[in-house]
């Protein structure tokens, strides 16, 4: 289902020629990446030359050496710094905390916010999740106020996101005046009705792609028209068919974004998440990126695991952050999400950009570890990255990425 690519007649790799890298065939191009997020696109003939040993007189030598792919002219200090910065050695704790507010009491909300602020890290994001803001308003109001004060007291930037399906204009005003980003939960079906407004004025869209969703370009225009700044598309079903349908839709949406690179304000959230080159910042990666809390204040490794009801790491009011490391489930999900521990991931060109969240593996395949060749989630994420990296020789795509503050230099 999700596969590494290979040459029909594989070239030979001479010792001391090419620096550590992985490769992937993307159409007529070859993408090579290292484990610290550096990349280069080349032709198969150029890759063959790299593997057999580039000479300094080769026109490719300067650009490839500068990117750290020539073993004989390798900048060890720079590579070590990049490994530190982009690897788990510089991980500071889960940055994103998803709180399910429906049914949560004020007392629980207070305990959860206090637990979130016991987590280390230079900044914290609290994503407040609900169906209708009116049904959780006192708790939402309290968390916004309390988290803002806690942020000031701990002198850490706090990003607040209110994500739901319904919100009144008054609630939108309150959230806007308190610097809370509003994210609308949407389900895309059929073609958009350009005259139909979203349920409330939101900056972000978290859009589930239903099987009937068509005309991605028109949907892009609809998002643009109604003032969305970013969209995160999600497949309704994560199976082979769902991943393929998602790929076609997402590809066309990206085409539209590239065509309107100069004038659109819309951003694809997957691009900014994947291309940041820190796999522990991918949305929903258990514990490394995210912790989730249910209405009872129970702590989970991610929203996905909260939805499944397991594994429970503890109660927000009782659990100590430093005790997380002693929990076997926590160790298991961290080990399972590391590319070096996954046979296919360790050889994948996207290893420094991607990991499948262990709780997704649990949901799809019944165990945290997952079997990547057979994983629809791996195929889905590989497809997203193929679309991003396949466009890296397109100036307009690079312009768009730079507009989104994604540094692919």
């Amino acid at each position: 289902m999700s596969r590494l690519t290979g040459y029909a007649a594989p070239p030979k790799a001479r010792p001391g020629a090419a620096a550590p890298h992985q490769y992937r065939l993307l159409g007529k191009k070859v993408l090579i990446t290292d484990e610290h997020g550096r990349w280069a696109l080349m032709t198969p003939a150029e890759h063959k030359r790299l593997l057999s040993g580039l000479k300094p007189s080769d026109p490719l030598w300067t650009s490839i050496q500068a990117r750290g792919f020539v073993a004989g002219a390798f900048d060890f200090d720079a590579a070590a710094r990049r490994q530190f910065e982009r690897g788990l050695l510089s991980w500071k704790g889960p940055a994103s905390h998803a709180l399910a507010l429906d049914g949560m009491t004020l007392e629980t909300a207070r305990a959860v916010v206090e637990f979130v602020f016991r987590c280390p890290g230079p900044q914290l994001t609290l994503e407040l999740v609900f169906v209708d803001a009116s049904s959780v308003w006192p708790v939402l109001w309290f968390i916004v106020q309390y988290a803002r004060r806690k942020g000031e007291w701990s002198r850490r930037p706090v990003f607040l996101i209110a994500r739901g399906a319904a919100m009144t204009p008054d609630q939108v005003d309150f959230l806007r005046s308190h610097g809370v980003t509003r994210a609308a939960t949407l389900a895309l079906d059929g073609a958009p009705d350009m005259k139909k407004a979203p349920p409330f004025r939101a900056q972000r869209a978290r859009a589930v792609l239903l099987p009937g969703a068509v005309r991605p370009r028109e949907w892009a225009e609809w998002f643009e028209k109604w003032g969305f700044e970013s969209v995160r598309l999600l497949p309704s079903e994560l199976d082979a068919e769902g991943a393929s349908r998602f790929g076609a839709f997402h590809g066309e949406l990206l085409d539209w974004l590239v065509e309107h690179a100069e004038d659109t304000n819309l951003r694809d959230e997957w691009a900014t998440a994947f291309l940041a080159g820190r796999t522990w910042r991918l949305p929903g990666v258990d514990l490394l990126e995210q912790l989730a809390y249910d209405a009872r204040g129970r702590v989970f490794t991610s929203e996905e695991s909260a939805a499944a009801g397991a594994p429970v790491l503890g109660e927000a009011g009782e659990l100590r952050y430093q005790d997380l490391a002693k929990i076997e489930a926590a160790s298991a999900v961290i080990a399972a999400s590391h590319a070096d521990n996954q046979p296919q991931c360790s050889q994948c060109a996207y290893r420094s950009y991607c990991t499948v969240a262990p709780s997704i593996n649990q949901k799809l395949q019944g165990h945290y570890w997952g079997l990547t060749p057979d994983s629809a989630a791996c195929a889905w994420q590989m497809g997203i990255l193929d679309r991003f990296f396949g466009r890296l020789d397109d100036e307009k795509w690079l312009l768009l990425l730079s507009k989104w503050h994604v540094d692919m230099g």
């Binding site: 290979g6 090419a18 620096a19 890290g121 004060r149 007291w153």
Partner: protein, 191 residues
């Protein structure tokens, strides 16, 4: 499993990959099996290629991992893929795996050195790349009296907010027309 002729020389056989004859798979109506000399092909590429087949086939490995391994491939969907195609795909993957493992092994000392240096940076033995990488201390769990007082004030404000919401609800809908069935039942029950 086939037995191999013993060589007179006890030293490991050095077989140049390009001189190897391509392994010939044995095919039955439902399964393909490929016998592979580990010294010639390497253990990691064989295991890697076998792992990659798992989306299409049930893979079995038998034999001695220091000498010869027999890889058995049985299609998960026999109608979709025939044993011959499975074997061809496995052998193509095996060749690719050899390239990938060659790059990995050639660069093992480089990767080890980089990892060591990165750990030294993390330990502070080598200066960190930028001050931004330094982690701030976790927020103090103990709150000051002023902070506690502010939380209490916040909670009383929330309670006032709830009361205002409820009053507003009554003001805009005094007869409770918009009330849900459960709310009406509750009100009647209270009355």
């Amino acid at each position: 499993m086939k037995t191999k002729k013993k060589t007179t020389n006890n030293a490991p056989r050095a077989v140049a990959p390009q001189l190897l004859a391509a392994p010939v798979p044995k095919l039955s109506s439902s399964e393909a099996s490929v016998s592979l000399d580990i010294k010639a092909h390497g253990l990691e590429p064989v295991l890697g290629a076998a792992y990659l087949m798992m989306d299409k086939a049930f893979v079995s490995l038998s034999g001695d991992r220091t000498k010869t391994i027999v890889v058995g491939l049985r299609a998960k969907d026999p109608k979709a893929v025939k044993p011959k195609a499975l074997a061809a795909e496995f052998l193509a993957d095996l060749e690719t795996q050899k390239v990938r493992w060659a790059v990995a092994k050639n660069n093992l000392p480089i990767r080890e050195f980089i990892a060591e240096q990165a750990v030294l940076i993390a330990n502070g033995t080598i200066p960190a790349p930028s001050p931004a990488a330094a982690a701030p201390e976790p927020a103090a769990e103990q709150l000051t009296d002023d902070q506690r007082a502010e939380i209490e004030k916040l909670i009383s404000e929330v309670e006032a907010e709830i009361k205002t919401m409820n009053d507003k609800k009554i003001a805009t809908d005094p007869k409770g027309v918009k009330a849900s069935w459960e709310e009406k039942q509750e009100q009647e029950h209270k009355a």
